[in-house]
Symmetry: C2
Subunit: 371 residues, 2 copies
């Protein structure tokens, strides 16, 4: 029972078939001249068209990187380099680590994070005030937040960045494949693993007008050494499948998420986090007072249920979630569900039936007061 489909999800049969076809036809190096390589190159070109189509740009402005992380790094570096003389980067307080680390690295720490409200929406007045100072190279604003699910009002954000003449980099790594693609951006980064494609691949989409400079003296600025063609093909097919089924899937998952939010809100000492309406349809998160996040994950794992958490220390993060802290939510005892299209009503029922007992047990073990 896999309920951690945020950044990764099991592949569907159709995506797996695409992968197998890619392994058979796309193993050759697409940069060479012979038939085998041309075939691989054609697969990549077709995939770039499919990505561009969904993202709303042209294939020649759609680039493949080695991961969403490197995509964010490279485009932030590229736009920063093209805006020579402007040396500050502005982001929201709930951007991904990859974005903020790249920004700090490039701007030598000259980074401003704009606060968000308790639902996770960026403070537009504060953003406008920061961009009014003419030293800003770029603004980085997420589309959907991977932890709390809140969707930014990107039309309003883009009005602010446009009137300040500051390029807008949109991290759409948690939203593409889960709803309409955002329309207002100068650069956008997407993550195929998040929509059921393979990991180890990122997509960077640009507008024709977007100016950037290569940050490395190489022919291939986006993925030095190339990408794995079968992965590219599988990512495109996975996105196509998600897009075709978007309406029915979204409605169904939105219903499951609403049910989790309503039920969890009735449990004592539990905070449900993020905007109730303007949100990703498949992400839902809540925090439990007096409960240790890692113990919660382990306990659910032993019950055969995989969930995520903003308060667990994993191999990649050693601190509880900065995002939860930014919206003023409890950063301990956090459970994050990411629902892939295969998740059923029954699975959610089982989780909801189990949770109150799990929470009570863990509180009792920790000697917490009754709530």
């Amino acid at each position: 029972m896999f309920l951690d489909a945020s950044g990764s999800a099991p592949m569907t049969n159709r995506t797996l078939e695409a992968f197998h076809a890619g392994l058979a036809d796309g193993w050759a190096d697409p940069s060479r001249l012979h038939t085998e390589s041309r075939r691989a190159r054609q697969l990549v070109d077709a995939a770039r068209e499919a990505f561009a189509d969904v993202l709303g740009t042209r294939p020649e402005h759609t680039h493949l990187s080695h991961s969403p992380h490197t995509g964010l790094e490279r485009i932030i570096a590229g736009i920063f380099a093209a805006r020579r003389g402007r040396d500050r980067i502005v982001g929201t307080a709930i951007e991904r680590d990859a974005t903020l680390l790249a920004a700090h690295h490039l701007a030598g720490g000259n980074v401003t994070t704009v606060p968000v409200d308790t639902l996770g929406h960026v403070d537009l007045d504060a953003l406008a005030a920061e961009l009014a100072v003419p030293d800003v190279a770029l603004a980085a604003v997420q589309h959907g937040n991977h932890e709390i699910g809140t969707l930014q009002r990107l039309d309003q954000v883009a009005e602010v960045t446009r009137s300040a003449n500051v390029p807008l980099v949109v991290d759409a790594t948690a939203s593409i494949g889960h709803g309409a693609s955002p329309e207002h951006w100068d650069a956008l980064v997407a993550n195929p693993a998040d929509w059921g494609g393979p990991s180890g691949l990122g997509i960077v989409a640009l507008q024709p007008r977007t100016r950037w400079l290569p940050s490395w003296p190489e022919g291939d600025d986006w993925a030095p050494g190339g990408v794995f063609v079968p992965s590219v093909l599988a990512a495109a097919v996975a996105l196509q499948e998600r897009t075709e089924q978007l309406e029915s899937t979204t409605e169904r998952l939105r219903g499951l998420v609403a049910r989790v939010r309503a039920t969890a809100a009735t449990w004592p000492g539990v905070d449900v986090v993020g905007d109730p309406d303007e949100r990703l349809p498949h992400i839902v998160t809540f925090s439990c007072l007096y409960v240790d996040g890692e113990s919660l994950l382990s306990r659910l794992d032993r019950e055969g249920i995989a969930v995520g958490s903003g308060s667990a220390c994993t191999t990649s993060t050693l601190e509880p979630s900065r995002v939860l802290a930014s919206v003023g939510a409890l950063s301990h005892g956090n459970v994050r569900l990411g629902l892939h299209p295969g998740v059923t009503e029954e699975q959610i029922s089982r989780l909801l039936a189990l949770m109150p007992r799990v929470i009570a047990d863990l509180r009792a073990e920790a000697g917490a007061p009754e709530l």
Copy 2:
């Protein structure tokens, strides 16, 4: 008839099976805490052990990068950063573009390339003279050359670098899986696609004593955003398969290569390139006077034969080979064969029977004098 197995090769059935197993069991993000992720992490750990075993180091010193290119970039950057105060990089004249571009980028152009002789061996006296100046951060020396097949005498090279106390970075991206792994290095980079694994993956092996500093403020210094676990598993199985069959395959391919070299040497106006003995067993290259490289490739491609060439302008290189120029070989009309273990005696016979007519036709078309 695929004779361009240098940097890429079709996967064997056993490798494809490993890939499929990886897609089933290794799709989850290995950095999370639940069972699905732990399973993915176990696959990665087992693969790192397999790589470490073949490369002669320990798993904890064996890192995965997004490609051999990024592996070379990251380890050259890492060692360069750890050698603060020494700001020059020394390489051989026939290193890969990725190595020399990374070196130029990091050292601000302060790069010295040491010449090689007509067989492709680095001039050891010249190398020692460069390293005698105490401003050298690191020396980059290939193991096997991907274009001409020559194997460097790394034991002698390492004597020079060791006595100068300069770290030795060995590009083994063309040699691992084709013979004994080199023994003398401080850092080594390998390419799974070259031994029949997937592309989009690089391996960086270090010695316990090797000092490096992260060049990016992140937890994951080698592959930001992670690698694709099924690829890692397939790469390990492909290497294992190659290693098991190494002796018999090597001997057979060495025989085919010797046959190509001997036959091509009898064709008028054809130069056979690289060391006849100290060489990779599966790479063979020759250059044809008065013949255009791209026409040659296209003609063979129409005959159903895929070969490589150091003189073709591809999407990734716009100039004829620097390597061929460095050994004083003709850089036009070049044909490079890379023989994967499935290549047969009959395929080579067909190529050798065809080549003299192809060369003669292309010379006639170009109005070249008879030879």
